[in-house]
């Protein structure tokens, strides 16, 4: 029987994971039971059997080869045959300090999916390669399934002919563009049309595939918000221009949607009064955290909420003079024992009743909130013989307070983060607002 042949390697995998203490016949019978009677997935069945007999499901090594379209969140031991569509690198902060990871998209004939490789050193990932991936796992992030390559993942290069070439998700503009407001832009939208005013623009030289190019980047805005943009052709953009852009596409940087457009887009200058004046559009829009989470991030947003936690690592800290990493016991993870540079910061949780974000306040803002200079904080810590006194004071000052914070909001696996540009303790006229709400209620 085909079914039996197909299951045999999995039966052996289970027996091996259980150290041979359960017989193949018994495992085969149980596996059949799980699959045919209870109709759970093969992966779930294997894990359940191992667990039931006191083994550790992590000892299973043989996953189930799947197609991209079949993947659901929370799968372990995922095997895939896929083509690497893109490879990017970034530094992330983990519990053990910062770390270089790779991420991008991979795909097969059924679709494309984001991936993250947490230990890229031993793993060969080159754009365009067909690879066999073993022991990956999946997670959900913002409603999408992602493939994660952890410590146990194995990647081997395969014959290119095994899979068709994957088209990049960005289709060339064809047909009418989709109209959108700036606030409606989302990652991976293609062929969008929008009307916006240039708040700032500057030319930069960049290298793309070894070739020097000029990119014009800055910030665009309409009544619904602001967005960073990159124009890959000289459209003669100037600050204050009102533009109609058709055929743009949206990428994202740490969750913040960014608009790109190139020679395939149509860019028309409109009358200066087609949108509100620059000063009005330069205002920071007030947003709910729930909406920020749905968008993935935003440029220059304002949030009102309660500061509900001042996290560890807030207050007076010391950084490595070489790499700016935060020191532990005067020791940098990379550069060893060093003479640290003092710094002040607050890592707080702000919750507005619709969601929560991590808000990071730098030295200047922290000094402002404390009404104290960093030198005074150093003196205070010396006197108390405890660095934590500064954090305690911040907690005392800030926790449970209504605050208004403004800055760029990014997102990653751990949620939203705002790098705060300006902040204040929020004082509103409670009576006035209550009166307005009551009048509305009573009609």
């Amino acid at each position: 029987m085909d079914m039996k042949d197909e299951l045999e390697p999995h039966v052996r995998d289970i027996v091996r994971a259980l150290g041979g203490k359960v017989s193949e016949q018994e495992v085969e019978r149980e596996l059949g039971n799980y699959l045919n009677v209870y109709r759970v997935s093969l992966d779930t069945a294997k894990r359940s059997i191992v667990k039931k007999h006191g083994g550790n499901p992590a000892d299973l090594s043989l996953g189930v080869t799947k197609t991209v379209r079949d993947l659901v969140p929370g799968e372990q031991n995922v095997n895939l045959l896929a083509r690497i569509v893109s490879v990017n690198e970034k530094e992330v902060e983990t519990e053990g300090g910062s770390k270089a990871i790779r991420y991008g998209f991979l795909g097969d004939g059924t679709g494309t999916i984001p991936y993250t490789a947490w230990n890229p050193d031993g793993v060969e990932l080159a754009k365009g390669d067909v690879v066999r991936i073993q022991n990956a796992y999946t997670k959900e992030f913002k409603g999408r399934v992602e493939v994660h390559l952890g410590a146990r993942a194995v990647v081997t290069k395969e014959d290119d002919a095994l899979l068709p070439a994957v088209e990049p998700s960005r289709a060339a503009p064809a047909g009418p563009a989709t109209a959108a407001k700036v606030g409606e832009l989302r990652e991976r939208m293609g062929n969008v049309a929008l009307t916006a005013r240039v708040l700032s623009v500057e030319a930069r030289e960049v290298k793309v595939d070894g070739e020097a190019k000029t990119v014009y980047s800055g910030v665009l805005a309409d009544e619904s918000g602001k967005v960073q943009f990159s124009a890959w052709k000289d459209f003669g953009l100037a600050e204050g221009d009102v533009l109609r852009i058709e055929g743009g596409y949206v990428k994202s940087w740490r969750g913040i949607p960014q608009l790109s457009f190139d020679e395939r887009a149509t860019v028309t200058k409109l009358a200066a009064d087609a949108l509100p004046p620059r000063e009005a559009l330069a205002q920071s829009p007030r947003m709910w955290i729930e909406d920020l989470a749905e968008r993935g991030g935003a440029v220059d947003a304002t949030v009102r909420g309660i500061l509900i936690d001042v996290k560890d690592g807030s207050g007076l800290i010391y950084r490595c003079p070489e790499c700016r990493r935060v020191l532990r016991k005067n020791t940098c993870r990379i550069h060893g024992e060093v003479q640290g540079l003092a710094d002040l910061r607050v890592k707080a949780v702000v919750d507005d009743g619709s969601g929560a974000l991590t808000a990071v306040f730098g030295k200047d803002l922290t000094e402002l909130l404390l009404e104290k200079t960093i030198d005074e904080c150093i003196a205070q810590a010396k006197e108390a013989m405890d660095q934590e006194v500064v954090r305690d004071e911040l907690a005392d000052l800030l926790i449970a307070q209504p605050v208004e914070i403004r800055g760029n909001v990014t997102s990653d696996d751990y949620g939203l983060m705002m790098i705060v540009d300006s902040a204040r303790i929020l004082k509103v006229d409670v009576q006035e607002e209550a009166r307005a709400m009551l009048e509305e209620l009573e009609g």
Binding site: V349, A400, Q431, M437
Partner: protein, 295 residues
């Protein structure tokens, strides 16, 4: 793991909750679902801490606090697994404006009876402004849920997809469907008046009904409206009932007290007020959640 939002929720709504949902998977969070469909895993509340006591032992303390808002009383329990919150609670001298952030908890002593409480992660003494601002936030939140529930009640049949099509998020839609399935048609006017009452609480023009002029230094007590003269009589009656209904020595069950009070012509609000007063005066105590006992 995305952090659970901290709901701003009145005790008057939270304590009416009888439904717990979620907890399907190994580490899936559980939610208390309120009659208006808020799915609450974490909440942030600010009110007046009126009493705090150790209901555990010296070796294994369990601090129980009562925090009142304009609509009711939150019950807050902190033990050895909430060391910071427990230490904070133990130091507060009531009455004090207090902010609590914590996890929603339910206690079901017998089938059909559900008590809600908060297991605090953060406890902090705040000022009157922070409390007033919280009331405003809780009003906004309640107003949104009322509007959503009103739309839901107009739908026939009520479906999650239908709510999502109206522009509500999946979470909101889930909550409304779960609440409607469990509680039936919710009495919206009742929550509407709760909202109006909370707003009026913030406005000095509505404090005019107080017969005697309020003392210059108003006691910062959320339930410190002027007490009618009859209140002492009610307290005496309630005190007697607590004694009568304490049949097994474990204290008078709240439900029995409620029923007996209704028979004696004491409204639920008056009963709650009397019980609060008796608790404050130290004449009765709550040996376990939902039981009242004479000292």
């Amino acid at each position: 793991m995305i952090r659970e939002v901290a709901w701003r929720l009145f005790a008057g709504e939270y304590n009416e909750s009888r439904l717990e949902a979620g907890g399907g998977g190994d580490r899936a969070p559980t939610y208390v679902v309120t009659p208006l469909g808020a799915r609450v895993n974490r909440l942030f509340a600010v009110g007046v801490l009126t009493d705090v006591e150790n209901v555990g032992t010296d070796g294994q303390p369990m601090w129980r606090a009562r925090v009142s808002d304009p609509t009711g009383t939150f019950h807050v329990y902190a033990g050895q697994y909430q060391p910071e919150a427990a230490t904070m609670l133990s130091k507060i001298k009531p009455p004090a404006f207090t902010a609590i952030m914590g996890k929603s908890r339910t206690y079901t002593p017998d089938p059909g009876t559900v008590y809600t409480s908060i297991r605090p992660e953060m406890v902090k003494v705040v000022d009157a402004y922070v409390r007033d601002y919280w009331i405003l936030e809780a009003c906004r939140s309640l107003k949104q849920r009322l509007a959503a529930m009103r739309e839901a009640q107009a739908m026939d049949p009520l479906t999650k997809d239908g709510l999502v099509a109206l522009g509500y998020s999946e979470d909101v839609a889930d909550g409304i469907v779960a609440a409607t399935t469990h509680y039936g048609k919710v009495d919206l006017p009742r929550y509407g008046s709760l909202l109006a009452e909370a707003l009026r609480y913030l406005l000095p023009e509505y404090r005019a009904f107080v017969e005697e002029p309020a003392p210059a230094a108003r006691t910062p007590n959320a339930v410190a409206r002027e007490k009618p003269k009859a209140a002492d009589d009610v307290e005496d009656k309630v005190m007697a009932l607590v004694g009568e209904l304490d049949k097994d020595g474990k204290g008078a069950p709240w439900d029995a007290l409620l029923a007996a009070a209704a028979k004696a012509g004491i409204a639920k609000e008056a009963l709650e007020e009397a019980v609060n007063e008796l608790l404050d005066k130290g004449l009765i105590y709550e040996p376990i959640l939902g039981r009242m006992k004479k000292i």
